[in-house]
Symmetry: C2
């Protein structure tokens, strides 16, 4: 009904550069990254940012939706894997590898998020749920953890290792391994609190 279907060539190029610059900047500085810095990094003027993304939140949403969708795609492929336990571990590895810990704040304040973000998030959550269910049926994950638990624990390894000042880039693997061991059935102790209902 409206909207010329394609952007001018330079505009499309700028948009891509902007998304990449924003992803980097948000990853490094968290949500405190400034629009001016992002614009500079992308090699455009500040006004151009706002032409493509009317608001800082819209820009963040675009970046975040990209990441979530990429993760969902990985998860969906892993649903067919032969070993469901290994598949879940692989998914968590991919999730931790993207430096998501910083811009993963989209998980909280669920009510106030742009619809496209909550939609992407819901899709990802459902994929995680299915991965966890398969792993549980296969005996690779303890009976009392849910998909919601895994969703919440997903970014902990990256977050935890971001605490150490000059962390080696693979340190998160150590904490993913510890947490994953906590998800295994062997030696599991009963959990003291019911699981939350995320989505």
């Amino acid at each position: 009904m409206t909207a010329p279907r394609h952007l001018r060539a330079d505009a499309a190029r700028n948009r891509r550069a902007l998304l990449a610059a924003a992803a980097d900047e948000f990853a490094e500085r968290g949500l405190d990254a400034s629009i001016a810095d992002i614009a500079r990094r992308a090699g455009v003027g500040k006004g151009t940012v706002f032409r493509h993304f009317p608001t800082k939140d819209d820009l963040l949403a675009a970046v975040v939706v990209d990441r979530i969708d990429a993760l969902t795609a990985v998860g969906e492929q892993l649903l067919d894997a032969a070993d469901p336990g290994a598949a879940l571990l692989e998914f968590l590895t991919v999730a931790a590898r993207q430096r998501q810990q910083r811009d993963l704040s989209f998980l909280q304040g669920a009510s106030e998020l742009p619809a496209e973000v909550t939609a992407a998030r819901t899709r990802m959550f459902q994929t995680v749920h299915r991965l966890v269910d398969r792993a549980r049926e296969h005996g690779a994950v303890r009976a009392d953890v849910t998909g919601a638990d895994v969703v919440l624990l997903m970014c902990a390894p990256g977050h935890v290792s971001s605490y150490v000042p000059d962390a080696p880039p693979d340190l998160w693997q150590r904490y993913l391994a510890i947490i994953f061991d906590g998800l295994r059935p062997e030696g599991a102790h009963p959990l003291p609190h019911p699981p939350p209902s995320v989505v």
Copy 2:
């Protein structure tokens, strides 16, 4: 050589109110809490804040040192406990209960922190190391985790559960239990990365 040894009565009262207000405000809003809000909450003028704490960072440091010291004291008492495994779990429970996840940013950027904070932090780290060593010798903790690991994982439960929008106040217990199960010797898989050297 300088410094009148005691504050005037009202000044001491204001100082206490300020610390309490700052602790609450930082816990609720993170480091984005504004000095003006803290002053209002404490019932004093903004200038008074800066008279007691020359800089926002100094105020944060004072709050944070209080918390760390309290935690260290708990840890030291627990060093004498009969069951070292239960003692470590109890320590982690106390640590997670204070809503520390928000103002625990003092862990990162270690080089730029006020000396008093790094000193308090070091004291706490050493206490944790001893708690972990005892628990390990007692067979309550797997052989390949170190005090540094536990220090880093300490605030994960609170952080993780802060992601769910209207989290029940005890949800962190669930994630502490899962992570603690990951620290136990039973069913432990080898860890893929060497431990960091925090402190």
